[in-house]
Amino acid sequence: MFIGALARPGQRPDDLLVLVANATLDDHIAAPVFGIVCSVLRDPAQSEEVTHEVLVEVWRIAARFRLDKVTALAWVLTIAHLRAVDRVRSAQATADREYKAALLEQTPAYDEVSEAVERRLEDEHVRRCLQALTQTQRESVVLAYYRGLTCPQVGELLSVPLGTVKSRMRDGLIRMHECLGVTA
């Protein structure tokens, strides 16, 4: 209900603003934020910390919305994902060598990632649309979004050239968009 209200284009800005200001109190916002942050960070304590930061930050800058662009919820989730990914990458930068080694060790782990993600996905529609992608598209989208990997990391993991990874991500999202029928 709350999400539906947020996502509707042409909603009165004032209503939206109040809803957003109260978003920090609402599980409909907090749960997907926490979900995606957990998915990327895979560490409960860090995930709580980042989620907390994101919700407080959303509260703080809620007035800066540009309603004609991304819907409010997509905006919040973009921030959440970006924050989680930034956290992972700054940790990686400090321990890059170990990380690379670990990444290579994990090379056959896409199946595990995919299985873990699938198990968590509560939205049947999303799961079906992911299944409808080609294998490389699905792998690229899942590793990037749910695990926070960069294009070069995805390329390395899947042994696919960088340019291919980038175009598979775009193709994958185009198909997901069509399949889900979401409106921006």
């Binding site: 934020v33 907390h52 007035a63």
Partner: protein, 255 residues
Amino acid sequence: MTSANVHLLAGAYALGAIDGDERPEFEEHLANCQACKVEVGEFLATSARLALAAAETPPSTMRQRVLHRITEVRQDPPTVDLPASHARRSPSTVRCGTAFVVAAGITAAASLGGIAAWQYDNVQSAHQQIQQAQAQAAQIAAVLSAPDARTVVGTIGGPGRGANATVVTSRSQDKAVFLTSGLPKLPAGKTYQFWFDDAGVMRPAGLVASGTSAQTILLKGSIGPARDMGITVEPTSGSLHPTSAPVALMAFPGT
């Protein structure tokens, strides 16, 4: 990088998979590429669905902590649009150490079309709305985090198809907060009205504003002598006395 190649980055960008120099490079391209903006908008809506599908309820302590924190954090006023390169160094984001780090990340999202500007004529009303919302949220936070906060759980509507509801009261604050997983939708012209039950006399305690689906509601007025609260369906302008049978009656906790 040729423009055709830059364009291909829209997907990786929306998935947060480009990093380092490529991010600002793409954002620069985005500012002048209408087709890219549309595509990125669609992709972000799509990736939001991916996040929704992975939703996970955070621990209840998180809610308390966030509530507590937002009573201390001042909201930023709406701002006018800044070019992406300036936005990243905006002095308003340097107010405190941690906020700066967070804001830097967010401004990156902003420049892809998330945040940034508010139409100038909306600024005043938006600001007022925020202050009201903030004042209300602060009161809600005060009730929920009061040392004497008590909770009671109930349902609205018939068993199996009703919504869950929780009432939190604090005698020291003399206020009650109503939380719900979502009130059943009403026909046009109708809304929910709250009542304090002063030993059988129903005292109005506020309306759920029509068209909103707020799920955390501060009851209007103080608890006073009331030992129960009721919810009825009323015309959108509200009523002085209940005009229909209550959809829910809930005893306040600890009475």
